[in-house]
């Protein structure tokens, strides 16, 4: 007697959605927030007096607060490792049709279930290395390094 009943054996040819199709969706999705940030930045500049010339440190801070986004697609976090400055807000966006979560191994942050195109953000105020997993698919792992 076989220990595995051959259910589904006839459907071995069936395939999950092709990665190429998801990559296209990824590009079109990520370009929108970038555009939004540019619009917001230009509006802010128009509405307020010209600020003093930013120092090098402030410029670095500005770069790090542009919400680096980690995309979740094909059951993985991309980029899988990310280094940000203290005070940075990191966003995750799920592009998979499967739901995923973002859960810190040390329970420093935890998202709810992210369905397709849902996002989650967390602001990192302490330096350190933060490992996280998807609690639905714990083979999905990532790391944020805050300096």
């Amino acid at each position: 007697m076989s220990t595995v009943e051959p259910v589904g054996a006839a459907f071995e040819g069936a395939r999950l959605p092709q990665p190429a199709a998801r990559a296209v969706r990824h590009i079109s999705q990520t370009s929108l927030p970038a555009l939004a940030i540019m619009i917001v930045a230009s509006l802010a500049r128009a509405a307020t007096p010209l600020p003093p010339a930013p120092s090098a440190a402030a410029a670095a801070q500005a770069r790090s607060t542009q919400e680096p986004t980690i995309s979740i697609h094909d059951f993985s976090f991309s980029p899988v490792s990310l280094t940000v400055a203290v005070g940075a807000t990191v966003s995750w966006k799920n592009l998979d049709p499967e739901p995923h979560t973002v859960r810190s191994v040390d329970d420093q942050f935890r998202s709810g279930a992210l369905d397709q195109n849902d996002s989650f953000s967390f602001k990192f105020v302490k330096p350190g290395t933060y490992r996280y997993v998807c609690s639905i698919h714990p083979q999905m792992v990532g790391t944020i390094t805050v300096k």
């Binding site: 007697m1 259910v7 589904g8 006839a10 999950l16 059951f75 499967e98 279930a113 997993v133 083979q139």
Partner: protein, 314 residues
């Protein structure tokens, strides 16, 4: 029916099962030997020896209320069909067991819809254990708010029905990176104490969402510390371990322990390692119902053991 009947019928059962594409398989379990029978034959035998075979419970799993992708845009509809299947059984089971992933995203609205659908069951007693999809809200509280009472919000508990000892375990908390499901030392200590002093002749049923043995590690289909659990169970004469999670039937018999995963009522998944990740499997519409279903378990008194039946919606 006797175990001799089971063995004699197994060959015909396998052939019939193949002919009908897995529309229903009964597994007679006696003395740790699992023999498949076909449902039509089982029904005939059942009528002749009805007083010995008592329907005990029905297992449903992975209803994923809230799922709406192409693999099955109507998971509420297929759950309703499953409920109709249960309500149409000639003798009502004592209770329904749901082995998790009641919802898809742990949303309150999904739990509410699931509860409304399950209330259509003509069997009032429902036992549950959560899946990782039921623990996906940030505070992991929606499940426990509704189903936490039985286990005092721990997720693990036991109860007895008709001389069978049932143990519900939780293995979808405390995931480690790249890890399998986990029970944890506190739960394992509780289990050891719960089983201690029970007669080895007591039939035991253990249930949890994720498989309690390793089926396929790269996809996390297993429980990392399940060996500790099985060491407590080996002395019992009849142990049935029931899981869901993988949306397909996989079985293993090891001594007196029978491990069995149930089909989903929502959508099938690829077989282990077949594809890049363990996602929903889109199959032709006419095939879907043959890949969804439930398991039912019958108590056999001579000898005291359990028989497992799998049924599909089509």
């Amino acid at each position: 029916m006797s175990s001799d009947d089971s063995i004699a019928a197994s060959r015909r059962g396998v052939l019939k099962c193949l002919a009908f594409g897995g529309a229903g398989t009964l597994f007679g379990l006696a003395g740790g030997v699992l023999a498949p029978l076909d449902l039509a034959l089982a029904a005939t035998k059942g009528r002749k020896s009805a007083p010995l075979d008592t329907p005990l419970f029905v297992q449903i799993s992975d209803t994923h209320i809230g799922f709406n992708k192409e693999a099955n845009p109507d998971v509420a509809g297929t759950l309703k069909q499953t409920i109709d299947l249960v309500n149409g059984m000639p003798v009502k089971p004592a209770f329904i067991l749901h082995t998790g992933d009641i919802t898809h995203l742990s949303k309150a609205s999904e739990f509410d819809t699931a509860a409304q659908l399950l209330s259509e069951l003509k069997v009032s007693e429902l036992h549950t254990t959560p899946g990782e999809h039921d623990m996906a809200d940030a505070s992991a509280s929606e499940y426990f708010n509704r189903y936490g009472k039985a286990s005092a919000n721990r997720g693990y508990y036991s109860f007895d029905t008709r001389g069978v000892h049932f143990v519900g375990l939780i293995n979808v908390l405390n995931f480690k990176p790249n890890g399998l499901g986990a029970l944890g030392s506190e739960q394992l200590e509780w289990l050891e104490a719960d089983l201690k002093g029970r007669s080895a002749s007591t039939p035991i049923v253990v249930f949890a969402h994720m498989p309690l043995w390793t089926i396929y590690e790269p996809w996390g289909w297993g429980t990392g510390d399940a060996d500790q659990m099985t060491s407590y169970l080996r002395r019992f004469g009849s142990v049935t371990v029931l899981n869901g999670h993988i949306h397909q039937i996989v079985q293993k018999v090891e001594g007196n322990l029978t491990f069995h995963t149930a089909r989903s009522t929502a959508f099938p998944q690829a077989t282990a390692g077949n594809g890049p990740a363990p996602g929903p499997l889109k199959v032709p519409a006419e095939q879907l119902q043959k890949m969804l279903g439930l398991s039912s378990v019958t108590l056999k008194r001579h000898p005291s053991a359990l028989a497992l039946t799998d049924s599909t919606l089509a």
